[in-house]
């Protein structure tokens, strides 16, 4: 039996995650890897929203903020285990997305962009201003997940960086599996259909409003889990996680890597997380070169890094 494209993609991702540490010059790279995976999880959600359903959001960091602060606050205020706090955050984000998505998703194009942008700003403002609860702009500490200790007692001893590398890698892999499942399912086909022609999708029976909302909720849950993992990994969180810059970063990674492709967006997350690290040797030219690379890729590889590379490979082969 031939390996399906979904399974091939997952296999390649799993192998990359498992084998990359062999090339790490130092322990510091586990941390960079984990950051890539956390971003990779969030951008996979954006592939569902932007790449499948064709709806833009410039406010998804707001959901990352909800996820992150659920992990920061729920253990102290509600006595929840941090792991359950992550689930609470996901449910909360899904609920908020469902509520605001209904009016917002009637908008299209740049109107939708501005409305979601507003939502992201709202969340980060609340997080920064409600200092008594959230700790304000200075941020606050996050409780220890405790899973690493539990693993140690059963004989799996990992350094903190190694543990988070594995945990976030696994989360991203699961996220990719779910998104790839969706892509080739009845719901996924309906989402991609409404992306290409809303009127045709309607006439074959697609409830466009409901499906857009589903994609919005799903992508919000991805962003929320990504924010939670970031908070638990760093043991500290500031309102920046919900900020406008983070939202834009996530969309940029998605589009840069390939907005319709799960592995593409993950490659985008990897490239744009690594590149600034690699470019630090250029010192004051760092941002200049980074900006230049981004512009060139988008000019010459309009569909994003991975889809364009694949097409070129196929064209030759």
């Amino acid at each position: 039996m031939r390996l399906s494209r979904k399974h091939l993609t997952l296999l390649v991702l799993a192998l990359l995650i498992a084998l990359a540490p062999a090339l790490f010059p130092s322990n510091f790279y586990y941390r960079i890897g984990a950051l890539i995976f956390v971003n990779g999880l969030a951008v996979t959600g954006l592939v569902v929203l932007i790449g499948f359903a064709g709806q833009i959001s410039l406010g998804h960091a707001g959901f990352a903020g909800i996820g992150a602060y659920a992990c920061a606050l729920a253990p102290g205020y509600l006595g929840l285990h941090p792991g359950l706090a992550m689930l609470l955050g996901a449910v909360l984000s899904g609920g908020v997305a469902w509520l605001i998505g209904r009016p917002i998703l009637r908008l299209k194009g740049y109107y939708l962009a501005v409305a979601t942008l507003g939502f992201g700003i709202l969340v980060s403002m609340v997080l920064a201003n409600e200092a008594k609860i959230t700790g304000g702009p200075d941020g606050r500490e996050v409780a220890e997940l405790g899973l690493r200790g539990a693993l140690a007692t059963i004989g799996i001893g990992l350094s903190n960086a190694q543990f988070w590398y594995a945990a976030t890698g696994l989360a991203m892999l699961l996220g990719a599996w779910v998104a790839l499942n969706l892509h080739d399912s009845p719901t996924g086909r309906a989402l991609r259909a409404l992306h290409d022609s809303e009127v045709a999708a309607r006439t074959v029976g697609v409830d466009v409003a409901r499906l857009k909302l589903s994609a919005f909720v799903i992508s919000a849950v991805y962003a929320s889990l990504s924010g939670s993992l970031l908070a638990l990994m760093n043991r500290f969180i500031t309102p920046d996680v919900a900020g406008f810059l983070h939202s834009v970063e996530l969309v940029t990674m998605t589009v840069f890597g390939g907005v319709g492709s799960v592995p593409g967006a993950i490659l985008g997350a990897a490239t744009l997380t690594l590149l600034p690290q690699a470019l630090t040797v250029l010192q004051q030219y760092e941002n200049l070169i980074l900006g230049l690379i981004m512009m060139l890729v988008m000019i010459f590889m309009r569909d994003g890094l991975l889809p364009s590379l694949m097409r070129r490979l196929k064209g030759r082969g």
Binding site: V178, R202, T203
Partner: protein, 261 residues
């Protein structure tokens, strides 16, 4: 027995009466054609019947129920399906996926089972795939199934839209110029396909500029000109109607007049 009934239907765009006071009926198994010069309002009429435009006046009844202003997806649930004159293809999906999307109402299920690829989700997709493949076979696109839709020719895309519309297993099918851009052989095939569909009991509402095709397969013809119904009846009656000949001669010259006989 009437499946679709249209009464006094009308819509304005700004000052333009695009369609005014149009009425007719379609029965199961019947092929009713709507003809008229460019800009007569045929597509606009289709858009109102399929719920894409909200009618300004009049009433649409499907199976005895008032469905005026009902959303397209609700109408699809009631068995109304259509194609588009200005192709509405899902460009970034494969030919097969395009046809599969036509099965949406039958294949949709719990989103959670789609996210987790549960057996029920896989089963629904497999059934749809088999059904869509059959339809592609029927419109002569089986060999292109795995191609990206955007790679097909215009005539092939027209047939893909028909396959997608048939995938709904409609009770009434609206075809907006299905033979446009098709060569003589393809037109012949479409002709057969429409006749076959009607024979299976589906009501067909057809807009088509190919007069030979229209005269050959229609049971009943409705003629529009500048938004108004100017004539209606059997192909023989309509082609002899002086107002029809004038409408066509006025806008399309002797060729159309000749085609009308």
């Amino acid at each position: 027995m009437t499946l679709l009934q249209v009464e006094g239907l009308g819509i304005d765009f700004g000052g333009l009466r695009a369609v005014n006071d149009v009425g007719f009926a379609v029965a199961p198994g019947e092929i009713v054609s709507v003809i008229g010069p460019n800009g007569a309002g045929k597509t606009t009429l289709f858009n109102m019947i399929s719920g894409v435009y909200l009618p300004g006046r009049g009433k649409i009844t499907l199976d005895g129920r008032d469905v005026t202003g009902m959303a397209p997806n609700r109408l699809a649930e009631r068995g109304l399906s259509r194609t588009f004159q200005n192709l509405q293809i899902f460009q970034r999906m494969s030919v097969l996926e395009n046809a599969m999307t036509g099965c949406h109402l039958k294949e949709r299920g719990a989103i959670l089972s789609d996210l987790l690829c549960l057996p029920s989700s896989r089963r629904r997709s497999a059934v749809t795939k088999a059904r869509a493949s059959e339809l592609l076979e029927r419109v002569g696109l089986a060999r292109a199934a795995e191609h990206e839709a955007s790679s097909l020719s215009y005539g092939a895309l027209k047939r893909l839209e028909i396959a997608r519309a048939l995938a709904l297993e409609p009770r009434i099918l609206l075809l907006d110029e299905p033979a446009a851009g098709c060569n003589a052989v393809e037109t012949e095939e479409i002709d057969h396909l429409i006749a076959e569909v009607a024979k299976s009991g589906v009501a067909v509402l057809l807009v088509e500029h190919d007069m030979k095709l229209v005269m050959r397969i229609s049971n009943h013809i409705v003629v529009l000109d500048r938004g108004e119904k100017i004539a209606e009846g059997s192909p023989a009656t309509v082609s002899r109607d002086p107002r029809v000949i004038e409408a066509y001669l006025g806008t399309q010259g002797a060729e159309a007049g000749h085609a009308l006989g």
